[in-house]
Symmetry: C5
Subunit: 360 residues, 5 copies
């Protein structure tokens, strides 16, 4: 399970704007990949050094610089300075414990989002911070590690299919965010399947491991919710924003993106409702079971304890010779059969009693 | 029970506006039915091909094209192109996992709603997505399967009774939505009956199947709520909307529709309140029962265990010949009756004790 | 107990504005009573036919037409047509499952409220829909059955005391609503008394019937709340409304009415808080009792089971003649007394143990 | 404990503005005290009759008329008429079940507040309604009984210290409200102490009386909250109000007062959070205890029941002479010691078993 | 654990603006330290008397006066008077039970914040009130005791590194608040670690001390929340504020600070969610354990009680000589072995029964 909180205390005492990488080093080397295109041309390469990216700032074509790995502060710093990015923005990119947000600067818009992966093996959800800087003709994106949800998007860029090559950097940024939000649906599906699995188990045979599973699910929903809720504001802010970086044609796509976000939030809330009901069901099922256990105990005790007492009576050693009152039953002709019949009678009465109480 | 979440992951990686049908294929063939009318004329037919619908776009009469079945993407695509519908709208129509919403385009208004059916046999609620495009003189409606709640409305159109034939396409759209909302009351009535049934069971004889029923009901309410809540915004949006597609006369009907929606939401919330209280009642009733079981056990144990002990005492084999201290009682003249009286005394004391504690 | 939901499904499939009475037929015959007055004159009569009411529309005096019973749709229809009331309003009057609301038409204001009665015998709360149409010089009021909370108001009108005869129709409408809201305090007092009764029972001797009472109370609060909450909006709407039907002098009374409504809502919420706490108290008290039962059982078991075992030991039939190791105690001089003392020792040790654990 | 709801039903059927005292008669005679001052002069006396107060209305000095006791309606009525107070305001003053509120009339501002006392002996919170009418040069205050929180304020007025003698009637009204809010902190301190007491008890030795205490505290918090929450609106309304009765210099004091109110509300909410957690702790502690009781029972039963069974075996009377298979052990040389060792073995195995389960 | 509420009742009855120190005396002597700087110069010293600070008010350089210790009211009073601080502000500084807030006066802005320390030894959170007055060229800060979170900031000032020496007093105030907020992350990390610890314990081996820890944590979260939530408004107020004391360049830093605050609040809320789930898990785990205990008891009882009864039967002393019906089994050749086999049969049947019930 992911740590609850990252070591952001590392930053304590430093001045604002100081660049410190907060988070785990998830990749060996920082990788910078460049995609540059317009409707006619397309160029894709991996940069050897950060300086290789600098000329793209001035080119009229749309440039997408993607940085995988945040631990080489120097790279981020140089890139930030060349593209005139505010130090506080760079600080936020490096601190991977940020909340999703949008900030509108004059010459660029800055986004922080969370990419969510589902680790099939561990049945766990992992999050990774995705930062995006959208300028007039460029998009800078920062990821914690190699591997993302944009492969299909890259293919579309390469093939030149769809409208993406005809549109500007704003549409590219939209497409990136859309790919991230679309991926949330995959996560939600997985979680939905787990919820259904637990629900079945809950009804068929709840064990204490079911509680553990509910607890884990609840915790994951808390994280998911933390990543997803602020997204609403982010996309709303974008949609409402008067920034001239976003072209008019793109707004209809943002509305669609907003709808998707609401749908994700809605489903997360529905899941929360479901999960919170599960523990109640579990508790009532445990109570039921204990009731059943108690009934079995009580039935056994209530039937056999009186019988044992009866047997005990006639196991007493009073001397029949000392007095005619001393256990004359022992010498009766039908003494033993009568006691057995008496015992049978007690059993029958108890069974009728418990039948009436609907315990049997 | 309906799946929690539909396979919307199928769409992952596709560009926005790509048409993919998300949902179950609920009908064999896509059926297109055309109703075209004005105050004087009325025409109703089933279209063989999608092209048959095209001429109705230009006719001044009100045209209602109803499409049952969404799995033939080609049909939706052609229709969408002819009626100038934005690809994102078509995408939303095909994705049956949408949230109810309203979107105001310049030349048409787009709605997504949920039709809710009650499956009497399985005692379950089923939902179906209903999409509606309202243009100046046409209404396009899309359903997942054949069979809907509009039969009475069609009769009214055929008979030419009421004001529906005198009014425009906006009133037709209102009438469709009104029919859907009216049908919610039917569902609510069914659920209300089930709640009353469970409440009776809860007080008379709660079993673990009652918990299962409460749980199912709770889950259905979560779904119902998800379908109904956004409706408020939808109809509010319509009522407030400055679109010139809606005529002034229709607004008073929208206010009425809004009231109905609020009433549905209100009842759903009332039901939620009631259901959430039910589990508490169940738990307290189970606790009560366990208390009763425990009391029975304790009374039996507390009465018979001391008696058995007493009987055990006089079952001991101390040799009375070895010493006058060794169980002289066994040779007393009234030994046995005295022990029986002693036992009776213990029983009476215990009964008084439990009576005082109000356990009997 | 009142049905949760009325048969509003009866209306399914009908066009908007169709007049259908939804609710129980609570009175035999529809009764129309007319009160017409100004500062000087006062006239009161019961109308034989609905047409008798028509001339009062044009009279400059204030006219109050009160209709008891809604099942004769024809009467409502005729009255509605003569007083130019919109068909949707008439539909709402007949559907007694409406939510309290206010609707401002140009020439009249339409209110729906709930009158609440307390049935002393059944200890239940009953609600009745009260609709009111306020025109410039008339008030139409519609009730489900004969019998209301306006007798004191009628007396004031007859006696000509107070300012009511000097003021217009708007003040009459205010007075009617004020009488309904004042009656809520009576209901609240009754419920307050029941809450106090249950609280006492809860502390003295909670039984499973207490849970039933809490549950009933909770359910009644849900209904009461449903009737009372929307009132806030209604009266607020009235207070804020720019309608020229309401005269300036009346506004100060509306503010007072609004305060009363808030006070009712406040008390309802306070009651809800109290009731929701009651079940917790009940549960903790049941748990406590079970604890006590368990302690009694455990003390009895822990004392007598070892004793019985000891007695059992010396009840064994090992042959002392076969070996000197076989139960020589049986032949000891102080064998029996020593066993008795041993048993006493066990009892004392157990008592000390339970005393230390504070179970005794 | 205070009654939940006062007999406001007494007012049912009366016209609005009718003067009825709702509340308990808390004082014998109505007492009217007059304080009249400006920077130079100071006069204090007790009025014999209400008419004695009338001349002060016209004097330019600041006059504070304080009325203790509300049951003499005639006094209130005369005073109200002379000072041009609206009948609805007088009605509110007499109905001591009002919610705190502010109402801005043209020539005066009307407040309702709640004074809260802590009855040390009964450990209960009592509330009393305090109404205040602030005119340009006078303050009328109405209390239910003699005895209030203004003694320090009166001393400051008499001594002429502080700015109170230099400021106008608005500052006097502020000072009165400030004294009431300051007194809330005293109540809150007392309740805080009780919470700490209960928390300690909860951890050391929770009993069923702890539940009762938590319940009482919860109920008191409900009342306190009801008195305190509306205060926020009241003081906010005052602060925002454009009334020319409040002088500009006073606003900064109102902001301070508002802060104090927020602080009170904040603490009340914190207390509610704490109290609501207490019952959970109690329940989990009761569950824990029951678990412990059950363990003791189970350990005793599981150890001694098998032993008793073993003893029972060798207490059987099978005739060894009838067959060599009939209990030959009874005649073995080491029969008895072997059984004792067997029993010891059972005890040791059970102890190890329970040790492993961590029940010991 | 910190007291719930401080003795603010000490202030009861005093006029507004009266200076009373509410809080604990945490330091021996009041210490006043002066830091005065601009881009070129830097001066740092400790003031012997409060008068030493006065000349700095007029100097154009930025002056930071930090006062540690609030119990010498005279010092605060003189300082306040010289810097034209309103008496109500001084009152708030001295009352250390204030809520975080911002107040904008014309010539200065007044802040109250809470500094939070984590006492490693006691595993407790401690709060201290930090008040700040920001003027055009000075910052006055008031702390309850010596020792704060500003050491790194002081070093930056001394070294002249970073932009802090180039910026004005507003940036200094921002830096102070930023240091406080940054320190919150340290606290949050500690609490996060404790939550993880408890979660592990909860799953491995929950004891009643776990409940105590959850309870303590819950209580600390209540305090933390109380300190942190109002901060949002404070920084928002600052960000929105039109005060000319804040320079335009500083606003971007305030936005960053606001983000940090939101992040802190977010994490606090996430923690609350987690903690509230923990008690549920604990309860279900206790229930589970009790179930297990009950099962062990029931299995033992249900197996051995019937066996003991059987042994009891053949321990009865019916006289076989008195009748052939009296326990002929005792004389059977295989009597004893048959009984043993019967007993074994009972054990096997019971084991199969419990196996079927999945209790074994």
């Amino acid at each position: 399970m992911a740590r609850i909180i990252k070591k952001s205390s590392r930053k304590k005492g430093l001045p604002p704007g100081a660049l410190v990488h907060i988070g785990d080093k998830k990749t060996e080397k920082v990788r910078i990949s460049i995609i540059d295109y317009n409707e006619e041309s397309f160029q894709e390469k991996e940069a050897e050094s950060v300086e290789e990216c600098f000329p793209f700032k001035e080119k009229p074509t749309v440039t997408w610089l993607n940085i995988d790995g945040l631990h080489e502060i120097d790279v981020i710093d140089k890139l930030g300075k060349h593209f005139d990015v505010h130090p506080l923005v760079l600080e936020d990119i490096l601190n991977t414990d940020q909340r999703p947000k949008i900030e509108d600067f004059d010459s660029y818009i800055f986004f922080i989002l969370k990419m969510i992966y589902y680790d099939e093996k561990k049945e766990e959800v992992h999050t990774e911070q995705f930062s995006l800087i959208l300028g007039h003709n460029f998009v800078l994106s920062f990821q914690e590690s190699i591997g993302d949800v944009f492969d299909a998007l890259r293919d579309r860029l390469r093939n030149g299919k769809g409208k993406i090559r005809r549109m500007g950097a704003d549409y590219l940024a939209y497409s990136l965010i859309d790919a991230i939000v679309d991926n949330y649906f995959v996560i939600i599906e997985k979680i939905g399947e787990r919820i259904e699995g637990i629900e079945e188990e809950l009804i068929d045979n709840p064990t204490s491991s079911t509680v553990k599973m509910i607890h884990d699910l609840k915790r994951e929903m808390i994280y998911l919710r933390k990543s997803v809720w602020p997204l609403r504001e982010v996309i709303n802010g974008l949609q409402r924003g008067e920034s001239d970086i976003i072209q008019k044609d793109t707004y209809i796509y943002l509305r669609d993106l907003y709808d998707h976000t609401i749908q994700v939030i809605d489903t997360v809330e529905t899941f929360r409702d479901m999960i919170s009901g599960m523990l109640d069901i579990y508790m009532s099922s445990v109570s039921n079971k204990m009731n059943e256990v108690m009934k079995v105990l009580t039935i056994f005790a209530a039937i056999f304890i009186p019988l044992t007492f009866l047997a005990g009576i006639y196991g007493m050693n009073f001397n029949p010779e000392a007095s005619p009152f001393n256990m004359p039953e022992l010498n009766w002709f039908f003494g033993y059969p009568m006691v057995l019949i008496l015992m049978l009678g007690v059993v029958i009465i108890m069974l009728i009693y418990f039948k009436r109480k609907k315990w049997l």
